[in-house]
């Protein structure tokens, strides 16, 4: 069965520190891959996406993600976290030809000033 796993429920980092949020998926074929962010009082916002090609993708707000086929992973990274990055982050694969995103359970990020 298709599934997506975000192993970390909650991560706390200091402002200025680097960040990596993990995402693993289990699909028959490589899906399209997305990261969305949900800030308090705001709707989900697309951070970045991977369809094919270059395995390192750049997104908004200084985020990037690396697709690793051998590990079935699509981890989100940021070199230096800002207090405004505190939010919940969702990894969401989408099977090619489908219109459904399958969201992980999310990772809540807290930032210590």
């Amino acid at each position: 069965a298709q599934s997506v796993t975000q192993p970390d429920i909650h991560i706390t980092v200091s402002e200025g520190a680097s960040l990596e949020l993990r995402c693993n998926y289990s699909y028959g074929a490589t899906p399209y891959l997305f990261w969305y962010v949900q800030s308090p009082g705001q709707g989900l916002q697309l951070l970045l996406k991977y369809f094919s090609g270059d395995t390192l993708v750049q997104g908004i707000k200084g985020f990037e993600a690396e697709f690793k086929r051998s590990q079935s992973s699509f981890n989100l990274r940021k070199p230096s976290v800002h207090w405004s990055d505190a939010a919940e982050y969702f990894c969401a694969p989408k099977e090619a030809g489908s219109y459904q995103l399958t969201f992980g359970k999310g990772t809540k990020l807290s930032v210590i000033p």
Partner: protein
Amino acid sequence: GAGVSQTPSNKVTEKGKYVELRCDPISGHTALYWYRQSLGQGPEFLIYFQGTGAADDSGLPNDRFFAVRPEGSVSTLKIQRTERGDSAVYLCASSLTPSTGELFFGEGSRLTVL
């Protein structure tokens, strides 16, 4: 407005009552989606509209849930005989290019069934 608008933002109802949740998508977006987000979970797909028709309703949990989009713009999610387990945030999203998965979400309607 420029974004996806959902009303009401909060709805409290009693078990067994009927509820309607409204979504006004971004102008020009032909694709519209409903997702449901329970506490501590990621959003779960409910239904997808392309234009006026429901192209994929495989996520609707049972026949108490129904959604319409009669003119290809505003959509209404209808829940009959509400149950406590229906309590969740109902998210609407729209897209100009549905095949890409790039969705624009509203802030959601929080439904509480007492």
